[in-house]
């Protein structure tokens, strides 16, 4: 042990040093706590004495907490990036409802369900929900948590848990962004959450490659898989009033990954579809639309950015199908 460290020194200066260190630490922590409580960096509604409206946050995982409690909307689009291109304004025009886009790209279904619960908690009246039920929702096991953990603390739990998660550089950054919004020095992001990913991948710039789908072995058995996320969604929807319309959309994929007719994957897809259909059956103006089919639209590479992300032409067809379903329920005529 270094002699300078092991020696004793009772100088009162050391007591002042200790007080200065702990005092600065405590003061800094108190200042940060005060700042985030006044500003409410994610606009979660738990704090925010300053009453700043909107966020400048481009990460939907965190920005959705602000949108999900925005009282100007009575309907929501949920799911992951495969629902991103559905445009709330077009759905508003076709249905007369007020849609907000709450998709969380890359999140697993549990994240989407947390957003759904938060949306329901913050709206007295919900008119319609559109949920993009893509392949992860048809998993027959609960998936392991993704590498970047979804911020459940934003959507669940009380103010103390929330405050504990605000001691981050990201929260401080968003606090200053919201102060800039209040000062008029920065514009908030779109309130309805729409973002067109074709701005990043313009038509023609990126598309999947056409190929012969892999031949799958014929399957004549019965699929007995369970779909745990269907159970979770049924529980979440079950908590909503019966008059809330629910449209579940199984989004289209490029034809190369559409399960081949007669294969086990096709049977599993059918079983999954029926599990989700049971959630909406009997509910007014509700429907399940399965767009995961092999047809001229899904065979055209120019309609896709990659194997699972469709472009505007398909998005418009899906929006028409959703609007028709909200009018006529399961009897809606779907053109695809």
């Amino acid at each position: 042990m270094s002699s300078s460290i092991s020696s004793s020194d009772a100088s009162p200066g050391w007591g002042r040093c200790l007080a200065a260190c702990i005092g600065t630490l405590a003061l800094g922590a108190a200042l940060i706590a005060t700042l985030v409580m006044l500003v409410d960096p994610y606009d979660s509604g738990r704090f925010g004495a300053f009453g700043i409206v909107g966020v400048s946050d481009r990460n939907p995982w965190t920005a959705n907490v602000s949108r999900a409690r925005d009282p100007q909307f009575d309907s929501a689009i949920l799911g992951n990036s495969t629902g991103q291109l559905l445009e709330p304004a077009r759905l508003d025009e076709a249905t007369g409802l007020r849609f907000v886009q709450l998709v969380a790209p890359g999140a697993d279904p549990r994240g989407d369900l947390a957003i759904l619960d938060f949306f329901a908690e913050h709206h007295q009246t919900i008119r319609a929900l559109v949920i993009s039920v893509d392949q992860p929702w048809c998993s027959n096991t609960v998936l392991p948590p993704p590498k970047d953990p979804f911020p459940y603390w934003l959507y669940e739990g009380g103010p103390l848990r929330h405050l504990g998660n605000l001691f981050t550089w990201a929260a401080l950054d968003r606090s200053f962004q919201r102060i800039a919004i209040a000062r008029g020095a920065r514009r908030p992001v779109r309130a309805d959450g729409y973002w067109n990913y074709e701005e990043l991948w313009a038509p023609g710039a990126k598309h999947p490659t056409a190929a012969e789908p892999a031949k799958a072995a014929p399957f004549t058995g019965k699929v007995t898989d369970s779909f745990p996320y269907a159970g979770m969604l049924a529980a979440a929807i079950g908590k909503l009033p019966r008059d809330v319309s629910v449209v579940l959309v199984m989004p289209p994929t490029f034809y190369t990954i559409v399960p081949g007719s007669g294969s086990r994957d096709a049977a599993a897809h059918t079983a999954c579809r029926e599990a989700y259909r049971s959630i909406v059956s009997g509910r007014a103006n509700s429907n399940l639309i399965d767009y995961r089919v092999d047809n001229a639209l899904t065979r055209d590479p120019s309609n896709f950015v990659d194997l699972i992300h469709y472009r505007a032409a398909i998005a418009r067809r899906i929006e028409q199908g959703i609007a028709a379903s909200l009018r006529a329920g399961a009897a809606a005529e779907i053109s695809f």
Partner: protein, 460 residues
């Protein structure tokens, strides 16, 4: 519970300090309270194995007491064997079964057992005491003092491996005596420095390297990533040195000065020098309880003593490798270091003088290269890293590489943590103390930002 986690830093540590502050004026309570706090710490981190730790303490202590009465050395040998058997069961059973299966040409079933937290470290603490007791060098201690020696929470999980003679007399001393504020300032510096090494440097490097090593396990590396993987030794240096500094700081908060574990090892000018500066307490343990006994065995005629000496060196380093994990790559890592130590010793005896800069460069290169084998997990994965070094440096990744630029600068230019702390605590300086508070706040925010990474040495 990890030292770099909010539950420890914001709940357990303040609560433990408060409880101990209340107990400090009462000499008969001090050790008992520290034992209770240490067991609570262990139970929080590894609840399923708390019984193992308590039983292990009880058996070893009872053996020491019986030996004190009947002087039956065979009992101590038996208990040491039992300690090693328990360690072997939890840490090496599946490794032995897998290799036995290879020899027999079959696949033997693996045991479904977890690795108790800190088992290597508390086993070695038992061994240090019992061996010295057997040699007549250690006195008997009361159960509470012995329990604290084994379970003292700052060092129970990953060291430093403190000798009983270094710490036993410190247990139960009054902490809040005139001058305690300076000790607390020093402790705070150690903890802040350790957190900086772990949270800012080691974890940032891990963030870069973990996906690269995952890729190396499955195939060749592209885009010059192998150059980043080659720098793993900087990660483990700051990870373990950071842990050790936090442990030393925590020890001081409870009135115990733990031994240092690192002394700027990447400034070494030879591999012998390196092993006197890297994981110092483990190397002292291996020297005194493995190497010296092997050298002193009368196995070979006198003229073959150098052979026995170098053989003991190789065995010690191979065991050092095996201690790090139940895998042949760890053994290979240890054997390579053993060979380097033998070569270094022979060169010093028979070779020409080496310029120190060349010795430093060769030592660093050797440590970095063997660090790849240590981290890769398989010879194939290590080969993918070495083969990838033929590609150009991944300079296009620009600012992302800052941890791998800062880490070598710190490792090569800065003195050891204890010297840095000694420099900044020569005289009280209120401004510096305030800046330290700001630094700790920034570290706490960084912990919240990045999530918590386990210390690399927790798996050993």
């Amino acid at each position: 519970m990890l030292f770099n986690d909010y539950p420890f830093l914001l709940v357990f540590l303040p609560a433990a300090l408060l409880i101990y502050r209340l107990a400090d004026p009462y000499p008969h309570l001090r050790i008992g309270v520290q034992v209770a706090l240490s067991l609570a710490f262990y139970a929080w981190g590894s609840p399923s194995f708390i019984l193992l730790l308590v039983t292990s303490i009880a058996i070893n202590w009872i053996a020491s007491v019986i030996h004190g009465r009947v002087k039956w050395k065979a009992l101590l040998t038996l208990v040491i064997g039992l300690d090693l058997a328990v360690l072997a069961l939890f840490k090496y059973a599946n490794f032995l079964l897998a290799n036995l299966g290879l020899v027999l040409g079959t696949t033997l079933p693996a045991l479904d057992i977890g690795l108790p937290l800190g088992i290597s470290f508390f086993t070695f603490h038992h061994i240090m005491y019992l061996v010295d007791l057997k040699r007549g060098r250690a006195p008997l201690y009361t159960l509470d003092r012995y329990a604290l020696y084994i379970a003292f929470f700052p060092q129970a999980i990953a060291g430093p491996l403190a000798r009983w003679s270094e710490v036993m007399h410190q247990f139960g001393r009054q902490v809040y005596v005139p001058g305690w504020q300076r000790q607390f300032c020093i402790a705070t510096c150690f903890i802040a420095l350790g957190l900086f090494e772990k949270v800012v440097i080691a974890d940032s490097i891990a963030h870069l390297l973990d996906p690269i090593y995952a890729q190396a396990a499955s195939g060749p590396l592209a885009s010059g990533d192998a150059w980043l993987a080659f720098c793993f030794s900087f990660q483990i240096l700051f990870d373990f040195s950071g842990y050790s500094d936090i442990a030393i700081g925590l020890g001081l908060l409870f009135g115990v000065q733990l031994p240092y574990n690192f002394n700027a090892p990447l400034r070494s000018t030879s591999i012998q020098d390196f092993w006197q500066r890297w994981h110092i307490t483990l190397m002292l343990f291996l020297r005194d309880y493995v190497f010296y006994p092997l050298v002193n065995l009368r196995l070979l005629p006198r003229r073959f003593l150098p052979v026995q000496f170098f053989g003991a060196m190789m065995i010690t380093m191979a065991l050092c490798g095996l201690w790090h994990g139940a895998s042949w790559t760890f053994v290979l890592w240890g054997v390579l270091h053993g060979l380097a130590l033998v070569a270094c010793a022979l060169w010093r005896r028979y070779g020409p003088d080496f310029p120190s800069w060349l010795g430093w460069a060769l030592t660093v290169l050797f440590v970095l290269a063997t660090g790849v084998i240590f981290r890769a997990g398989s010879v194939d994965a290590a080969w993918h890293v070495f083969a990838g070094l033929a590609q150009a440096l991944p300079l296009a990744r620009g600012q992302q590489l800052w941890p791998l630029m800062a880490a070598p600068l710190f490792a090569f230019l800065l003195p050891a943590s204890q010297d840095i702390v000694a420099f900044f605590t020569r005289r009280p300086n209120v401004v510096m103390a305030g800046l330290l508070g700001v630094g700790i706040l920034a570290l706490l925010i960084q912990i919240g930002e990045r999530g918590v990474h386990e210390f690399v040495y927790f798996q050993f």
